[in-house]
């Protein structure tokens, strides 16, 4: 019984808490798995992807950058507000989606679940900006994140440029900055 509990408990811990077992590249607050969806994926990567991003595509098709903390390293919270800004990523199409920590969408009253290459308004420098949080931030595209729980942001790049595929760390990732005070 002890062996069973220890074996299952350690497996759960590795899959949910020790995502460093998954071969990944970190860029700022974001990280991406190099082998998501691939038949080359090792035992741990395949299991982590199945639990946190089932039915992923390979990096030639889609790259998934995930952020669970802001630029200062503090865990993202749905109850806090964040400004996310950056240049349009080097890909054919892109989107940023807000998920609750169970990896499902928030019940957004405005039906805004993501900002994407189609809906983003770029400024003269080619930059976009959005805000997450419980309340709308005037002047910014709002992704509602309701409740008091963890927040996970996912940046998807569809048909990313070959340079990003070969060197994910070269991507200019969006910044994630807390807005106001968040206890």
């Amino acid at each position: 019984m002890a062996a069973l509990l220890l074996g299952l408990g350690s497996a759960w811990w590795v899959l949910k808490k020790a995502t460093w077992m998954n071969r990944a590249v970190s860029v700022g607050a974001w990280s991406t798995s190099l082998e998501a969806g691939s038949a080359r994926a090792n035992l741990y990567t395949r299991a982590v992807v199945a639990m946190n991003g089932l039915l992923a595509l390979g990096s030639q098709e889609t790259m998934y950058f995930v952020a669970r903390a802001d630029d200062t390293g503090l865990p993202l919270r749905a109850s806090c507000s964040y400004r996310i800004s950056g240049v349009a990523p080097a890909a054919r199409w892109w989107s940023i989606t807000a998920y609750a920590d169970d990896m499902f969408l928030f019940d957004a009253p405005n039906q805004h679940y993501s900002l994407n290459a189609t809906t983003a308004a770029l400024d003269a420098q080619g930059r976009f900006m959005l805000a997450t949080g419980q309340k709308e931030t005037p002047g910014l595209f709002w992704l509602p994140t309701l409740g008091d729980r963890g927040l996970v942001l996912t940046l998807r790049l569809y048909n990313p440029d070959i340079t990003v595929q070969k060197a994910p760390a070269s991507l200019q990732v969006p910044s994630i900055t807390p807005l106001g005070n968040c206890a």
Partner: protein, 189 residues
């Protein structure tokens, strides 16, 4: 008389045995996790009957109530086919006729993505795929003219068609027609 480790340090042997068994359980759980998750998904996805003509499922556009698969993309419309090559090949056809992104991806029962085709690769040609079992004879792996044969690494699996929707309300008519062009039917090559 020489004493064995088991008689001199029985607790040490017990701890070693527990750790060995725990490691074995750990590895088995990690190995099984994606297979169990896929098996559950194949059992319950998408919770409704497939379209009788096409054999495909056309779930509604993604919202907060979409909870069948983690990380649903609100930017995609999905079409789904359950693939089972136990009884023979599965014929997949589609003709989305879109200028925006779409893809057809095949997943094995361990969640590996073993094939993907997107709009750029397909060009203007209709999709014509045959998914065959890995132990199919060379004759059954031979594609009809113009068709592509894909060897499935597992008997059961899933096809997921993604159709990009930047603004579903505006593009609904075109996108629905595109994703409903998918059909998955059983039949000999």
């Amino acid at each position: 008389m020489t004493q064995t480790l088991a008689t001199r340090r029985p607790w040490l042997v017990r701890i070693a045995l527990v750790l060995f068994l725990a490691a074995a359980v750990h590895v088995m759980a990690i190995w099984a996790a994606p297979r169990v998750i896929m098996a559950v998904l194949l059992q319950r996805l998408p919770g409704t009957s497939p379209d009788t003509a096409s054999g495909a499922f056309f779930p509604p556009a993604v919202t907060a109530s979409s909870r069948a698969v983690v990380m649903p993309s609100p930017d995609m419309l999905y079409s789904i086919c359950l693939i089972d090559v136990a009884q023979g090949p599965v014929h997949i056809t589609a003709h989305p006729e879109l200028r925006s992104y779409w893809s057809i991806a095949l997943y094995a029962d361990n969640s590996d993505n073993y094939f993907v085709l997107n709009d750029r690769q397909a060009g203007t040609r209709p999709v014509d795929l045959w998914v065959v079992p890995h132990d199919a004879s060379p004759v059954r792996k031979a594609a009809p003219a113009g068709a592509t044969v894909v060897v499935a690494p597992s008997r059961r699996g899933l096809l997921l068609m993604r159709v990009l929707t930047g603004n579903y309300t505006v593009e609904k008519d075109v996108l629905e027609k595109a994703r409903r062009s998918l059909a998955c039917t059983a039949g000999p090559v």
